[in-house]
Every structure is written in C-alpha cells, then in structure tokens.
Symmetry: C2
Subunit: 275 residues, 2 copies
C-alpha cells in the first residue's frame, strides 16, 4: 500500500483516505464522496483494529462482510481498499503507541480507557502507510474526530482532516455498523438517542440554558424506552470536550447509551442564536 501511495504521490496525485472498520453503510459512503470531492483518488481502509478494543469489548463480535464492502467501494469508484490483517499491522516486537493527554479523559474515553490510544496509533500508522493529503472521518464519533484533529496538528502530519455529517436512518437513528447487533425491539428503543437530541435542541431553542435541566429531561426521554442504560449524557466544549454547566455558545451534546448489550453513541452541536 505504501509503495502504491508513494508511486501516486510521485505522479502528483492527491490521495483521500477514509479509514473504516468495514461493514460499510451510507455513513461511510458519504465520507468517500467527501474524499473524492477533495482528492484525485480515494483509498478506503478496512481494519477492525484490536488495540482500540478493551478486553471486555466486542472485538470478536464486530460485524464483518468484506465481499459486500469491496463491492460497495468498487461501485463508489474507490481506487484501492487497504485490508491488512492484525499481524501485518502489529508485528512481533510491536511496542510504539501514540497517546493524548487530555482529550481522552472525557466522554467515551472514561468507559473505554485504551480506546483512543488505539485509535491515535492506528490512524498515525494509516497516515504513514497511505500518505493521504486529506482524510475524512464521521462526526458521529465526535471525540474520535477531535482526537485525530489534535494529533494531526500536534504531530505535524501533512494531512487535512475533514469531518462528514452524521447520516441517519429515516426515523432518526444514526447509522452505525453496531446497529446490526440490535433485535427488533432494541432497534425501536435505540431511537431514544436521536429523540433525546431532538428534544434537547427544541428546549434550547425555547430558551433553556441550564445543562442540569436539559440533562434531566434527556434522561427521561432515554428511560422512556425499555432496555436502555445510560453511559453518559454530556454537554461540553466542542474543542476541549470539557464539561459546561450553561449553554452560552456552541456546545457539544454527546450521548452513549446501552440498548440491550449494544453500546450506541450519538451527538449534536447545540448553537444559541444571538438574543
């Protein structure tokens, strides 16, 4: 892959990278379109990265369908799909990790302690292998995008990072490969995330600024559905991810909810108009 990318770069071609864990959905495809609009060719990586899963997480269960993924990439005009095996990515004496000191100490990083070290490391590796000019990541994984923007700037990777908006099912559920885990009953309950976001946005629109009030009402929305368990409901600064008590500027509202045994996330940036 690196030899191919070096060859493309020698020809002056601009490479757009879309890193994924496969089991592609419309969300991933929208990122490929963004990459294609800003580069001469698109590379998609498909790699279920073991170092970003904790020991009790769903590494083994993570859904896979390489045949279908390749067909979707082909249809979308992708130039190359990079599908390494874990043993290609992490050799025998492997021991180097990229970690961030602050951004992981919030939101998903709290319940997934090794997750962002794994993400930062594998993304650094993908940047060095694929040598992209731009790389596109979904905004559903808001914290991941923040971590990647930060590490790209901090480590001076010559890569422009772009975010792609969350793509939703017609009823509002944010697309995720993990939605495949949901039973039909859980699928109905999973709507609580987008409902909580929508209700909160409406409350802010009506003038509510107190995060404690907004949080309590989001909790109510989520618990109104069966089989739901809240990991976090967070309101925070979109850059630093530090918690805020009052909505007085652009504020990230981020949710992680277990529906049955499936952990789902969703988010939106709340904006308050000038009074």
């Amino acid at each position: 892959m690196q030899a191919q990318s070096l060859n493309w770069k020698r020809q002056g071609l601009r490479i757009g990278l879309v890193p994924t864990m496969g089991f592609l959905h419309e969300g991933h495809l929208s990122l490929m379109d963004i990459a294609a609009a800003h580069a001469d060719l698109v590379v998609v990586s498909i790699f279920v990265n073991p170092t970003q899963f904790g020991p009790t997480e769903d590494l083994e269960a993570y859904p896979r369908n390489l045949e279908r993924d390749l067909a979707l990439c082909r249809e979308r005009g992708v130039a190359a799909v990079f599908t390494p095996e874990p043993s290609d990515v992490y050799g025998q004496e492997y021991q180097s990790y990229v970690s961030l000191e602050k951004l992981p100490n919030h939101l998903c990083g709290l319940s997934r302690p090794v997750h962002f070290r794994g993400v930062a490391t594998v993304v650094s590796k993908l940047f060095n292998i694929v040598l992209p000019d731009i790389a596109v990541f979904g905004e559903k994984d808001f914290q991941q995008l923040a971590v990647i923007r930060r590490l790209t700037e901090d480590l001076n990777f010559p890569v422009r990072i772009m975010g792609g908006p969350i793509v939703r099912e017609s009823d509002g559920l944010a697309m995720s490969s993990r939605n495949a885990y949901l039973s039909s009953e859980e699928r109905a309950s999973a709507l609580c995330l987008s409902e909580a976001l929508k209700n909160t946005a409406a409350e802010v629109e009506k003038g509510e600024r107190d995060v404690a009030v907004l949080k309590a009402s989001a909790e109510k929305t989520i618990f109104s559905r069966p089989h739901t368990e809240i990991d976090y409901i967070a309101f925070c600064d979109p850059q630093t991810l530090e918690a805020v008590d009052l909505i007085d500027g652009p504020t990230l509202m981020a949710l992680a909810v277990k529906v049955g045994s499936t952990r789902l996330i969703d988010n939106q940036v709340l904006r308050v108009g000038l009074a």
Copy 2:
C-alpha cells in the same frame, strides 16, 4: 519547512535528515556526509527539545552556538537548517506523545524516565515536518537509535534509518556536545569510558565471556580515574537491549558515567569470533 519539503518531494528530490540539538562537532558532520551520500539534499534540524529533558537535567545549560552551527552546515553544503523555537514545536493545547513500551526500560531510560518519550515524539514530528527519505542518527546514542528504528518500523514512517559510527577525539573520548561541560581535570577522567570499552574488548578477545567478570574489571578502570560515578555498565542484546550474562553473540556494551556533574555515555558492540 514542511512546505519546502513538500515542494522538494514534488520535484522528485530525496531528502536526508540529520536531527541534532546543535553545538555541532565532527560526529554531527559525519552524519551529514552519510545523509549527503544517500539523498539529493540534506536538512539539519537544530532543536534542544525540552520534552526529552527531565526536570533535574541540563536543558537550560545545554551548550548553544547557532552562528557557528550555521556556518558549519553551510560549509558542508546543507540545503536547509531547521531551527524552530520550543513554542513553534509545542503549541498551547499540545498533548500528543509517542512512547515505546519496552526499549526505554533499559540503560539510559532507567535514569531518564521521560527521555525516550520526548525523543520518539520529536523525531516523529521532525519526520512529518521534514518528510525525509532517510534520516541519520549517531551510534553513540545507541539506545536512541534502537528506539528510532523501532518506532519507524512500528508506525510505518516511510523513512530509512541509518546509523553513523561514533567519532572520537584522538585520545579516544567519544565526541559529544556535553564534553564542553568538562573542566580540564574532568576531561582527563572522561577517558575512563573509552578505556573501559577498549580493555573489555581486549579481555573478550582473550576469551573472557562472563559478563560479571567483564563488568567488575570495567568498574575498576572507571574508578581508577577521579570524579567518576557509574550510572550503568550494561551488556545487552543489541536489538532488544535486554541484559545478557554471557557474551555468546554480538553484545552491546554500553556505559553511562558521571564525570564531575557531567553525564557521559559511550558504547561498542562486542563480537566473538567463531572458535
């Protein structure tokens, strides 16, 4: 610097990087010659990297002479000297670090706990800024070279790492910017490092294989000089840096000795001929 390097690369030029902390001596110049022999142009970085110094170390005192360094680089035909300020390298929200899990737990890493995290981080940044095809490091800092080889392979940097042999003063003292700290009396004592290496090589040549014996005799050589304090005398595997008890293959002998208040290092790889 990155824009200049991207420009050079677009022209198909191969970049050789020699990262330094300045106060250049013949050792550094020999690395520039190696770089020049394997690349179309040479970039030297001069940066006394704060993140690789511990709180009690010699960051402030580290010798500097940029005027002289620039003149030496010019004479050597260097294409660019990259001399960032710490605030250019580490911005306000800086928080990303590259660290290795095993190689730093030996030799200098034991008495300098943050050192190799700082080295791995700044070298990763320099690779991303200067975008070299090859990078040359001195073998005097043997563990540093091992760390950099490892992280380059682990993180897939498209950079070939080369080591340059230790350059010595006519009496055997390994060249080091820190030699400038030595009083004339200490300068004489500092010979104990190269003497210990030479004596050990002779003993191995004569058939001694027991590390305990070799270590005791190296200690004696070092303590025969005044103002010397041993940080470590180590015999280890040159790849993993793990300690060995017996010389039965290529073995790194590495020394760190304080002479007065100046900490000096030196090393050699011992080789045993076929019997």
